[in-house]
């Protein structure tokens, strides 16, 4: 497979190779961005999951301080630690109980992880194509250099 790609590349002109390299580099960068986005999303969900776990450890009626602004807190009591609202996106919120909410986080994290793995595969393939194009291009340029002189 890799050999045939290389063979195809040998047939291209230096100009075309350059275009191929630029195109694949662009795609590699795009994929890298997506991977970063997925990573931040996963961290956020993991944070939410641990916050849920934290909440589930508190008993009903526990005194807390609720932040109204960054520096102003009012006292409150924990009314119902089992019911939480989950933001599922596009403005919709769903009321869930603790196990359901935890399950939601788990599912989302797993979904992101599987997407992440798929993307990593595609990205590494693209990267190897881009590297290959760079190598062939350099070899071509070297070949052309003596004839140009």
């Amino acid at each position: 497979m890799a050999m045939s790609v290389r063979g195809e590349m040998e047939k291209l002109s230096a100009e075309q190779l350059k275009a191929v390299k630029e195109q694949t580099d662009l795609e590699v960068n795009l994929l890298q961005d997506s991977l970063n986005n997925i990573r931040t999303a996963t961290t956020r969900l993991e944070l939410a999951s641990s916050a849920l776990h934290d909440l589930s450890l508190r008993p009903t009626g526990k005194k807390t301080l609720v932040p109204l602004t960054a520096s102003l807190y009012v006292p409150g009591t924990l009314q119902d630690p089992d019911q939480v609202l989950v933001d599922v996106g596009t403005g919709y919120f769903i009321e869930k109980n603790m196990p359901q909410a935890k399950d939601y986080c788990e599912r989302k994290i797993n979904l992101l992880k599987s997407n992440f793995e798929q993307l990593v595969e595609v990205a590494s393939k693209k990267k190897s194509i881009s590297d290959e194009a760079g190598l062939v291009l350099q070899a071509k340029l070297k070949q052309m250099a003596p004839t140009a002189q």
């Binding site: 599922v88 996106g89 596009t90 403005g91 919709y92 919120f93 769903i94 009321e95 869930k96 939601y104």
Partner: protein, 130 residues
């Protein structure tokens, strides 16, 4: 004299075509951006729909309207999201069609430019001989 005015004519034609081409290319990249936005929205809506479908009928669903959460009927919420997905899919299809159209236009413009360039070159070659 005749050949130089013909050349100027061709040059002008080339410029006009190049302008057209860059306009088309700008449109294409705009199309790409809009499409990206819609694709993201479609994915998000599909995730929401999946969540809504997983819920039992007595679950409480809220919709954020401005700063307030408004309680919504689950069936209504599902219908809303479905409608939105339909709308976005239709929009994506429409964008695809216009994109294809523009790409065809772009290719024919490129060809036309290439032809004009060739004519200029042959004209210059003839001049060099003379």
């Amino acid at each position: 004299m005749g050949s130089s005015s013909a050349q100027r004519e061709l040059q002008r034609e080339l410029e006009a075509k190049a302008n057209d081409l860059s306009k088309i290319q700008k449109d294409i990249s705009k199309n790409h951006q809009v499409r990206k936005k819609y694709t993201i929205q479609l994915g998000e809506n599909e995730l929401v729909l999946k969540e809504l479908d997983l819920l039992s009928e007595d679950a409480n669903v809220f919709k954020l309207i401005g700063p307030v959460l408004v309680k919504q009927d689950l069936a209504e919420a599902r219908a809303n999201v479905r409608k939105r997905i339909e709308y976005i899919s239709a929009e994506l299809k429409r964008l695809d069609a216009t994109l294809q159209d523009m790409e065809e236009k772009q290719n024919s413009k490129k060809e036309a430019i290439f032809k004009v360039q060739q004519r200029i070159q042959s004209l210059q070659a003839g001049k060099a001989k003379a």
